[in-house]
């Protein structure tokens, strides 16, 4: 699920693919899209908690990647570079959404009363449907909590918790200092703690669900 579980062989080939893609190899560019699409989509999904927005962000990010990969100086910085594009695309989408004032279906689902059932996603397979439902419901609830963070804190939390970034890599991707990243993460986790408490998500609740 995280970058650690990302296919190792593919990661090994990323540098070689980036080198070829920089030289204009369309096949290598396509392979890079295949390798990184899921990560960028999931970054967008966790940022917006919305499938359409995540798809939009992923597509725009990879279009920009294919168009400007020739300008990438250091192939070793590809990951940070790609996430810089993704972060900027997310910010742009966020501005567009705030201008449009639209309400996504997911957010409407999350505004339902606590006792109303929510439809589960169709991507996970568990043996027990009830357990699967509960876990999906908890995941959606946590996702909604994550969305309550400010965009800056959300970026850092997602990169650190889900994308397996080091503090230095996040600082590179966001073009800020490492201390700023750590500070944003600290206050982001602190804010999330309060949001979880407000929604009655405690250690007991989590233990019961699992």
């Amino acid at each position: 699920m995280h970058a650690e579980s990302f296919p190792g062989q593919a990661m090994m080939h990323t540098d070689a693919l980036v080198e070829r893609a920089r030289e204009g190899d369309k096949q290598a560019q396509g392979r890079l899209v295949q390798l990184w699409y899921k990560r960028i989509y999931n970054y967008g999904y966790k940022f917006f908690f919305d499938h359409d927005a995540a798809t939009e962000v992923a597509q725009k990010t990879f279009i920009a990647m294919c168009r400007y990969i020739g300008t990438l100086q250091d192939a070793g910085r590809f990951k940070s570079w790609l996430y810089t594009i993704a972060v900027n695309t997310c910010r742009e989408e966020l501005r567009r959404q705030s201008g449009r004032q639209s309400v996504s279906l997911d957010s409407m689902m999350m505004n339902l009363p606590d006792d109303s059932p929510r439809w589960e996603g169709s991507d996970h397979r568990y043996d027990n449907p009830e357990r699967r439902f509960q876990q999906q419901e908890l995941a959606d609830l946590l996702q909604a909590c994550l969305k309550e963070l400010s965009a800056e804190q959300r970026e850092v939390v997602i990169m650190k918790e889900y994308e397996g970034f080091k503090f230095r890599e996040i600082a590179e991707a966001l073009n800020v200092s490492e201390n700023t990243v750590k500070s944003r993460l600290y206050y982001g986790l602190d804010a999330l703690k309060k949001i979880l408490a407000k929604r009655n998500i405690t250690q007991e609740t989590i233990s019961y669900e699992s």
Partner: protein
């Protein structure tokens, strides 16, 4: 640890990215400050909770990019826009040339037409030649005064003619003529009244005669109807009496037959009873 570790140091410790002296110092500080340790524990719980959000499985869609083309000066957006406007104007001029479109502007007017040339009437000169409002008002007043005078003359003529006619008529009607006319009218009225009264009497007599005749006919018809009805009633009554008598006779006959039958049976039983006794007596 003498100094308080900042958020950056604490978060690095939380993610296990501190080593050596820094790590030891933070651990020492946390032992001395359980409230900060508790806060870090809570943050760790938040991290554990966040791990419950799983990744979505997606398939990368094909991303098609157009080939990079070298952008020449003539192919830039501005040049394309300017060229487009120029081409539109050229086309417009060409169409105007063939259709004979003429556009004229001047003297505060603009005219568009398909004629080769045409003149615009000079409205300014006309405006200069036009009368002022005071002159127009004066002309209207003059015209009204003339009209009024004409009407006055016509009215006086009519009035004089009417007076003359009335005077003539009155002169013709003298007293003697009036008297003879009155007498004629009164004579005529007397004869007419008499004739009218006679006509009325004749009509009344005829009406009374008709009424009596009609009345007699009605009474006769009514009486006939009454007699017929009475005769029917009597006949009906007679028929029902006969039916009743017939029914009673039938009843009597039936009762009689029944009585005869019963008597026969009684007699038979008596005979049956008496016959063995008489036989016994004979024996």
């Amino acid at each position: 640890m003498n100094h308080k570790p900042d958020e950056a140091l604490l978060i690095a410790y939380l993610y296990g990215e501190l080593q050596g002296d820094e790590k030891t110092a933070v651990e020492q500080y946390l032992r001395e400050h359980p409230d900060v340790y508790q806060r870090l524990q809570e943050m760790n719980f938040v991290r554990e909770s966040l791990q419950r959000i799983a990744d979505k499985e997606v398939i990368a869609p094909p991303i098609v990019l157009e080939e990079n083309r070298s952008v020449t000066f003539w192919n830039t957006g501005y040049m394309r826009m300017i060229t487009g406007i120029a081409a539109s104007l050229a086309l417009l001029m060409l169409v105007a040339r063939f259709t004979g479109l003429t556009i004229q502007a001047g003297n505060g007017t603009m005219t568009i037409g398909f004629a080769s040339s045409f003149t615009v009437p000079d409205t300014k000169q006309k405006a200069a030649a036009a009368l002022t409002s005071e002159e127009v008002q004066q002309m209207i007043n003059q015209s009204m005064a003339q009209n009024n005078a004409l009407l006055q003359v016509n009215w006086q003529d009519s009035q004089q003619q009417l007076d003359a006619s009335i005077r003539n008529n009155l002169a013709e009607f003298s007293d003697a003529r009036m008297r003879s006319l009155t007498k004629q009218v009164s004579n005529a009225s007397e004869e007419q009244i008499r004739a009218f009264a006679m006509t009325l009497q004749a009509e009344n007599a005829r009406m009374i005669k008709d009424y009596l005749a009609l009345n007699a006919n009605d009474q006769r018809a009514y009486m006939e109807e009454l007699l017929v009805d009475f005769a029917r009633y009597l006949e009906q009554q007679h028929r029902s009496d006969l039916q009743m008598l017939q029914a009673r006779l039938t009843n009597l006959e039936e009762e009689n037959d029944e009585f005869r039958y019963e008597t026969g049976q009684i007699l038979a039983s008596i005979i049956n009873t008496v016959e063995p006794i008489s036989t016994d007596i004979k024996n």
